[in-house]
Structure formats: structure tokens, C-alpha cells
């Protein structure tokens, strides 16, 4: 009876910890893409002449969603910490999962399927595309491994 009325959970919330990591990973990777490739290297174009207007709208939705996820993710993270329901290991695993997942999605859907923009212009694209998608896949796999490892050692309940 006393346990059920505890105001703050002392054990980590597995689903929320992972998911909050995934969200922050997606948003950080999107921000890195925006800042490094669009602004610093200027490899991507602000707008590609060949982009159809439907793709323009979907691009706008993705871009707007990334910013909301970034802000919302950090507030959720702060809320989980405040309630002591955060598992750092799961959050890191989720972060890598999200970052890798975004990289692969950006490489396959944005660049190849929707053709919003390419990684770089005036070069042979294949090595860039392969490197882009493969690096994302590596992040994705490492993230999955970290999450799996963190979940399997939960009963031990070491320091988080």
C-alpha cells in the first residue's frame, strides 16, 4: 500500500527513456545536417530548382517537426530527470538509434526518393551516398546494441 503511493518512481521508465533519446538523436542529427552541410559547407542548396511543390511542403513539415522535436525532447528529458525516471544508458542508446535512423532516412528518402536535394553538386554522387547511408546504418546498429545491452542488464540495477 505504501509502495503504490510513492510520489516519485525510483525505477527508470524504460520506454520513455529510450524514446526521449531517439527524439533528441533525430533532432540533433537534423540540426547538424542543417548547420554543417547547408550553412558551413554550403554543399546542399537552400532550394533545388528541380524540387516539385509537393516535396517542398513535405520538406517544410519535416523541418518544422525537427525543431518541435528538439525543444519538446529536451523538456521531456528534463521532466523524466525531475521524476527520477530516466535511465542514462537507455537514453544514450536511443540517441544513437535516432541519429542513425535520421541519417539513413535522409539519405534514402530525402535525397533519393523525394529528390529534395543532393549531398553535393557537380561531383560523382555514388561514393557520397554510400558513405552517408553506411555511416547512418553503423550509428543505428550501435544504438540498437546499446539499448539491447541496457535492457538486458536492468534486473541487476546498477548505477544509471
Amino acid at each position: 500500500m505504501v509502495d503504490s503511493s510513492l510520489p516519485r518512481p525510483r525505477s527508470a521508465d524504460v520506454r520513455s527513456s529510450t524514446l526521449v533519446g531517439v527524439l533528441i538523436g533525430i533532432a540533433i542529427m537534423a540540426a547538424v545536417d542543417e548547420i554543417v552541410f547547408h550553412q558551413l559547407l554550403a554543399w546542399h542548396h537552400f532550394y533545388d530548382r528541380s524540387t516539385p511543390s509537393v516535396a517542398l511542403l513535405s520538406d517544410g513539415l519535416l523541418h518544422a517537426a525537427e525543431l518541435i522535436i528538439l525543444v519538446g525532447g529536451f523538456f521531456w528529458f528534463a521532466d523524466l530527470r525531475r521524476r527520477r525516471a530516466l535511465s542514462n544508458r537507455l537514453a544514450w542508446g536511443g540517441f544513437l538509434l535516432g541519429a542513425g535512423g535520421f541519417q539513413v532516412f535522409d539519405g534514402v528518402v530525402d535525397h533519393k526518393v523525394l529528390r529534395l536535394h543532393q549531398i553535393r553538386y557537380g561531383v560523382h554522387l555514388l561514393p557520397y551516398d554510400v558513405l552517408w547511408i553506411a555511416s547512418g546504418a553503423v550509428l543505428l546498429l550501435v544504438g540498437a546494441a546499446v539499448v539491447w545491452w541496457a535492457r538486458s542488464r536492468r534486473p541487476g540495477d546498477g548505477p544509471r
Binding site: 500500500m1 524540387t51 511542403l57 517544410g60 523541418h63 518544422a64 523538456f75 528534463a78 525531475r82
Partner: protein
Amino acid sequence: MTVAGPLAHAGHGAAGPTWFPLFPVALLAVGYVLAAVRDPRGWDHRRTASWLVGCALLAVAVGPLAQLPDNPSGHMAQHLLLGMLAPLGLVLAAPVTLLLRVAPPPVRRAVGRLLRARPLHLLAHPFTAALLTTGGLALVLLTPLYAAAERQPVLHHAVHLHYLAAGYLFAWSLAGPDPAPRRPGLAVRIGALLVASAGHAALAKYLYAQAETLPPGLTDRDPEAFRSAAQLMYYGGDLAELLLAAALFATWYHSRRPRPTPSPLIKRFASPEGDSLTQTP
């Protein structure tokens, strides 16, 4: 605020743009500060600061920026300040709460009635407000309204007033400490912010792509100037979305803060289960 149009129109003409729109802005700032000083329970200084920041942004938009020679980037900066950044500062300052604290009872009752009115709930729904802000902007940029507002000062000021009113409505529908009866849940508000921001970003890129023909009806156009205005619109919109999202989630975070819990003893006696009363500690 409504006096801005006619007053500025009276001074417009041979003398060029005027400083008249600054008067209502100053009135807003002074009125709020006087009310805050009169608040018997003491008013949070951070709210006053937020209001003054909002007023300062309004002043920049209708003062110095209006003095610049006509160019698309200047108009875009005015739109960003009037319709997106200043309203957030004003909303976070909780002017309605302040009014309810210092106004005489009849005014308070009238405000209460207004806040309970169905039409207001419909108008202040996040999706209606999103349509009014982003849709209004689309209407200006995609129709000959832009060209008409360039020629007619009254229309120009009416468009600015619409930016401000719709921006305020949108920010209030999403976040802030002011009373907002029947404010929808978090998911609906996030959805409205998403739709409004996506529409704004897509509109900016569309304007960039079609700078040779948009906005329609202009006699002398400089596509390069409209392209840089479109980029300002895109990145300025990002900044506004970031701040709105922060305000929205901060309101959520604040509402979920843990309250001080009653002691176990009080809890035991308040518990509906009968057996807890018979248990002796």
C-alpha cells in the same frame, strides 16, 4: 491600437512615413507598467520585462523599419517582428491576468463573460489561429494584396494590425500564463504549431522559387531582393517556431511539476479504504 491606421494615414503622403504608430505602442507600454505598479498583490517583474520587450519589438517594427526605403526584406522583418516575435513577448506578460487583478469589478465581469464566449473559443482555437496567421500571410504574398498595400497606406496598416492580432491570438492559443478556457490538449497545440510552421517554411521557399512572378501585380520588381526576403522569412520563421515551442513546452513542464505531497499520516486518514482507519501505527 486601432488609432494607428488613421493617424498614420493622416501623416502619410508628401512627408513620407511618420512616427505616429509609435504612440499607441508607447501607450501600451505605459498602461501596462501603471497597472503593474497598482497591483495590490505585487506583479512579477519578469512579466513586466516580457511586455516591455514585446513593446520594444513593436516599436522597432513600426518606427525605424518603417523609415527605410521600400524593400522586400524590410517588409519581411516587419512581418516577423509584428506577427511572430512581439506577440510572444506580449502573451508571456499575461496582460489579461493583470487586467483582472487591477480593473474595477464591472470590467472584470465583462472580461470573464468574454472569456467564456463560444465565438472566442472558436476564434482562439490553435488551428483557427494558425490559419489566420499563416493563411493571412499567404493571402498577402500570393495575391495582388501586397501590391495594393504598397500603394494604400490604410491597407498597409490594416495588414500590419492583422499580423499583430493574429500572431497574438496564435501565441495565446498555444502557451502562456493567461486564462485560456477550453484550451485544447498538448497534442492539438503541437499539431497546430507544426502546421503553421510548415506552411510558413514552405511559403518562404515557394516565394524564393517564384521570385520572378510573386507577389503578383508589382510594377517594378527586383527578384533578387525578394529572394533574400524569402530567406529572411525562412530563418526568421525558424526562430519564431523555436521560441513558440519553448513557450509551449515550458507551460507543459510547469503544469507537471510535482506538488508537495501530504504526509503519509494524513494520506492514511484521507484514504477511502476502511481498513486503513482501523490500523494503528
